[in-house]
């Protein structure tokens, strides 16, 4: 992997030592290229699964934020424009995507809570148990939400 970062004057001096210390120019050993490694769960454990899920749901939710704003912008076009969207939004496929959204929110929200606690120095020795406990709770909420969305009950 080549060093494409800016010259030393723009970085922490400690960081420069790491870059300068390297002898030879052989390739850096990587499991997988670039950010793909963030999502490679082979031979990895619960903590990495939580990290990968948090990252992918986070990026997905950022995308959803802008998609949501774009969809809501159809309201500016008046009732016909919005009704056109509602027709699409009430199809089973779209309701399924809604459920995917809820899944993403639950995973990111509950795991984020776990990370806030762990990152503040609390419960670091229970990181696996806390992840699975929160995901179990999230699964219950997801099932309830699915029943509501597809069942049409309030």
């Amino acid at each position: 992997m080549s060093d494409t970062r800016a010259p030393s004057s723009e970085r922490d001096p400690g960081v420069d030592e790491i870059v300068r210390s390297r002898r030879g120019d052989g390739p850096v050993s990587r499991k997988l290229p670039g950010p793909v490694a963030w999502f490679d769960l082979r031979s990895r454990s619960t903590g990495h699964l939580a990290f990968s899920l948090n990252r992918i749901t986070g990026l997905g939710l950022v995308g959803y934020l802008y998609l949501h704003l774009a969809v809501l912008s159809t309201l500016l076009g008046g009732e016909d424009s919005w009704n056109g969207f509602l027709e699409l939004a009430t199809t089973p496929l779209f309701l399924g995507l809604d459920l995917l959204l809820v899944f993403g929110l639950l995973v990111h929200g509950l795991n984020g809570t776990r990370l806030s606690l762990i990152g503040s120095g609390y419960v670091p020795n229970h990181q696996k148990a806390s992840f699975w406990a929160l995901m179990a709770f999230g699964a219950i909420v997801l099932v309830y939400t699915a029943l509501h969305i597809f069942g049409g009950e309030s």
Binding site: S21, R23, W38, S43, G47, H48, S52
Partner: protein, 257 residues
């Protein structure tokens, strides 16, 4: 099984070991398969030494103590960070893929450049540092006192397992940050503020995303992830203390001039 194959047991069978090969000047790394006689006790290091002695003497690898205390034989076995000297092949199924530890430049086959790993540590960084934490231990007869050395054997497995280090070669990493926390736990005259300043940089303690793979990979019980979280707690306390000091500081007296 001994490395010269003289005492292959009756239960020995052949296993395929797929080894990462790279020499300076090669365009790209490649892998090579070698069939190695193994029994239930054969370790990855013994298999690699067999390949060196019987198949290919140019195979490059590092090892020293043969008992997980020097940290030089770190490799990835089927993608998982392990010390080759204590990893039994019987624990690994299928073809055994042996690769160098990740996120460090490869010098030769399974040998990586450890200089960027060691450069990450705060300075000074004594490589052997006694620990006062010997709770409940009893010195044998004739021994006046026990002195336990730091757990970290600087094998680099934690850096290899870290998903942040996979994309950021400047991240200080689990070993260095855990070492800083150990300095705070037992300072012995070290400058506490300088250690916290060092950890508080962009590529420091706040970059960790709590994947805990470093703790999974560590063969020595250092628990780097937990130590990084404890380091964050220290940074937060210092920040709160400083805010409190600023808030309670007496206002300046006297006018200008």
């Amino acid at each position: 099984m001994t490395t010269d194959g003289a005492a292959i047991t009756a239960t020995a069978s052949m296993r395929t070991v797929r080894v990462h090969r790279f020499k300076r000047g090669d365009e790209a790394p490649r892998t090579e398969d070698h069939d190695v006689p193994v029994d239930e006790r054969t370790t990855v290091l013994e298999a690699l030494r067999y390949i060196q002695l019987h198949d290919d003497p140019t195979l490059g690898l590092r090892h020293s103590c043969f008992h997980a205390s020097c940290g030089t034989c770190g490799v990835r076995v089927n993608g998982r960070e392990r010390l080759a000297c204590v990893t039994k092949l019987s624990e690994v199924s299928g073809t055994i893929a042996v690769d160098p530890i990740a996120n460090l430049p490869v010098l030769h086959d399974l040998v990586v450049d450890m200089a960027p790993f060691l450069a990450r540590f705060p300075h000074p960084h004594p490589i052997v540092r006694g620990s006062e934490l010997v709770p409940g231990s009893v010195a044998p007869e004739g021994i006046d006192e026990l002195d336990r050395y730091e757990d970290c054997i600087e094998c680099g497995l934690c850096l290899s397992a870290c998903p942040v280090a996979a994309t950021d070669d400047t991240y200080l990493g689990p070993a260095a940050l855990a070492y800083a926390q150990r300095l705070l736990e037992e300072p012995r005259g070290a400058d506490r503020d300088a250690i916290l300043d060092w950890a508080d940089q962009d590529a420091g303690a706040w970059r960790c995303h709590a994947a805990f793979e470093c703790t999974e990979a560590c063969p020595s019980g250092v628990r780097p992830a937990q130590r990084i979280m404890a380091l964050r707690k220290q940074l937060r306390r210092r920040r709160d203390d400083r805010s409190r000091d600023v808030a309670t500081a007496a206002p300046p007296t006297g006018g200008p001039g």
